[in-house]
């Protein structure tokens, strides 16, 4: 099942910040991690990640640095800043409220979905 465009866009910032909360990373690895975490269901064009990362950097949520990779290729690494960590916590509170509301209004059995949604929010 493909996740709708608006939802992907809304989730992008917390997902990326959440992955960087696991540790420093770079664009390609972040995308790999997203694919892995969502079983390939949360997807957008690879290139779109970079303008998002640049925005997060401009806002001060992440910091970046160019490094040589093991293969000798230059690579831009991103790292969560203290401010980014608090933004992530903020996003998490917002999403859990939204998630909580949705859990209560889903028709039928909402219980099965709850753990999965929570996982995605990281």
């Amino acid at each position: 099942m493909r996740i709708g465009k608006d939802l992907v866009a809304a989730a992008a910032t917390p997902v990326v910040l959440g992955i960087l909360a696991e540790g420093e990373s770079y664009g390609y690895a972040i995308l790999q991690r997203i694919t892995e975490l969502s079983d390939g269901e949360l997807e957008w064009s690879d290139g779109m990640l970079y303008p998002l990362l640049h925005r997060l950097e401009r806002l001060g949520h992440v910091e970046s640095e160019w490094r040589q990779s093991s293969g000798g290729r230059p690579r831009k690494h991103y790292r969560l800043s203290a401010q980014g960590a608090s933004t992530l916590a903020d996003h998490r509170r917002q999403w859990s409220i939204v998630g909580g509301v949705l859990d209560q209004v889903w028709p039928g059995d909402g219980d099965k979905r709850q753990p999965r949604l929570a996982l995605g929010l990281g």
Binding site: Y26, S45, D46, P74, K76
Partner: protein, 470 residues
């Protein structure tokens, strides 16, 4: 597809980079980052058993469409679309990218160094001629011959036209220089200031030389392919943008000079003579090159200015001419107008043609005719009506008082512009009614350029002897 004939991965990536770097929203560092991503993706795909070129295609596809991508970058880095007007070249200073590391000094910033050097050269040429001859009138008459070669040199450096073109253009410059300086113009009293020449034919020849040599310089800009209406249209675009920049620089330069004089006057130092004798002439000559450089440097970066001005002034100008028609019908006083009348209306026609040409040059040929095209029909018809009224009056007056050089020159220009506008109106009406493709509207204007060149040449070469150098 066999893998032996597939281009190597590095080659594919290099050509992909070239495309990406053309996007103004992406900096070289961004492309570096995307390339690093692309290579990671390719590595993963080849590890899964794909050939290099297949992996490359998939990886590029997964990056997303170039338009969407550069729109996203532009949204995040909108400042870049503006700030590239500043003087440093496109590669970031901290960038370690090898392909830009060897860029020669003079190529940086689109050749600003060359433009500045040529601008200084133009200033020196003007000033040196004045100091050597001690004759401001001579400098004024030769202004096109003194300054425009430097602009031609700038174009020659950028476009690398074939040698034959350069020789032809140099020949044209030489011919004009000979005519301007060997003809025995009347009444040259050197005590006068620069702008007041006594000989009307000398003034006409000067104006003719500026127009003719400007168009000839355009041949260098066209890199020798001056028969193509695309390159001609490009040169028209260049001319309009250039004029906008030149006027801007002149205004700011004038303000700066005024301020400088005022500031120094406050400490009892009079530097006005220095400003007038040195800064203004050298600055005016040098600004020609700087404007030319600016047009080239920002061409790709932001929306051009001249087309915006045409959008603003076409309606206003149309209103003005409609008011003029009403006024002249009610009062019929145009007929009693003076000799300057024809010159004034030549200027009106020049503006109408300019508004039309720049609107055409900025228009997407594929678009269907819209309100602005209809408005242009109205402007053209109004211009024709006004001009016919004036022309009838003037021809009656000329029959009474005979032909002078000035009158003949303006009458000729008037007829040339009238013919252009009449046919342009016909084409424009056809275009609005969807009978005429836009390309014909366009090519009519570019095809007309040699007519201006011809008339300017007549002013330079034929008028002085015809009117006894008076």
């Amino acid at each position: 597809m066999t893998t032996e004939h597939a281009p190597a991965l590095d080659e594919l990536i290099a050509s992909w980079r070239e495309w990406m770097e053309r996007r103004d929203a992406l900096s070289v560092r961004d492309v570096d980052e995307l390339e690093s991503h692309l290579r990671d993706r390719v590595d993963a795909l080849t590890a899964a058993g794909l050939a290099d070129d297949e992996a490359f295609l998939i990886a590029v596809k997964r990056l997303g469409s170039m338009d969407d991508l550069s729109r996203e970058y532009a949204a995040e880095h909108s400042g870049r679309l503006w700030k590239q007007l500043v003087l440093h070249d496109s590669s970031d200073s901290e960038g370690t990218d090898a392909s830009n590391g060897t860029m020669p000094f003079v190529r940086r910033a689109n050749g600003l160094t060359i433009a500045l050097l040529l601008g200084v050269g133009a200033g020196i040429a003007v000033k040196a001629t004045e100091l050597l001859t001690g004759d401001p009138e001579l400098v004024f008459r030769n202004i096109a011959v003194l300054v425009l070669p430097f602009l031609a040199a700038w174009f020659a450096w950028r476009r690398r036209p074939p040698m034959g073109t350069l020789l032809g253009v140099a020949g044209a410059f030489a011919l004009v220089a000979l005519a301007l300086n060997l003809y025995p113009f009347d009444g040259g009293s050197s005590t006068d200031t620069v702008a007041t020449q006594n000989s009307a034919t000398a003034v006409l020849a000067t104006i003719g030389s500026i127009v003719a040599l400007w168009l000839v310089t355009g041949i260098v800009d066209a890199g020798g392919v001056w028969r193509s209406d695309r390159t001609r249209m490009d040169f028209l675009r260049f001319s309009g943008e250039w004029l906008v920049y030149y006027v801007l620089i002149a205004i700011v330069g004038g303000a700066l000079s005024g301020l400088t004089v005022a500031v120094f006057a406050s400490i009892q130092v009079d530097i006005a003579p220095f400003i007038v004798e040195w800064v203004l002439p050298c600055g005016a000559a040098g600004a020609i090159l700087v404007s030319a450089w600016l047009v080239g440097a920002k061409q790709r970066v932001i929306e051009n200015i001249a087309p915006v001005l045409t959008k603003v002034f076409t309606p206003l100008f149309t209103l003005m001419m409609l008011a003029l028609i009403v006024a002249s019908v009610m009062q019929w006083n145009l007929v009693d107008g003076s000799r300057e009348l024809l010159i004034a209306f030549d200027l009106v026609l020049v503006v109408v043609v300019a508004l039309l040409v720049y609107a055409i040059s900025a228009r997407d040929p594929a678009l269907a005719p819209g309100w602005f095209d209809r408005l242009q029909v109205l402007m053209l018809v109004a211009a024709l009506v006004v001009d016919v009224i004036v022309l009838v009056a003037m021809i009656a007056r000329t029959g009474e008082f005979g032909f002078s050089a000035n009158k003949t020159a303006s009458l000729g220009l008037n007829l040339i512009l009238l013919a252009n506008l009449a046919w342009a109106t016909w084409l424009q009406i056809g275009f609005v009614r969807r009978r005429v493709p836009f390309g014909r509207v366009e090519s009519w204007q570019t095809a007309y350029l040699p007519v201006y060149l011809g008339w300017a040449a007549i002013l330079v070469f034929a008028f002085p002897p015809m009117f006894d150098f008076a």
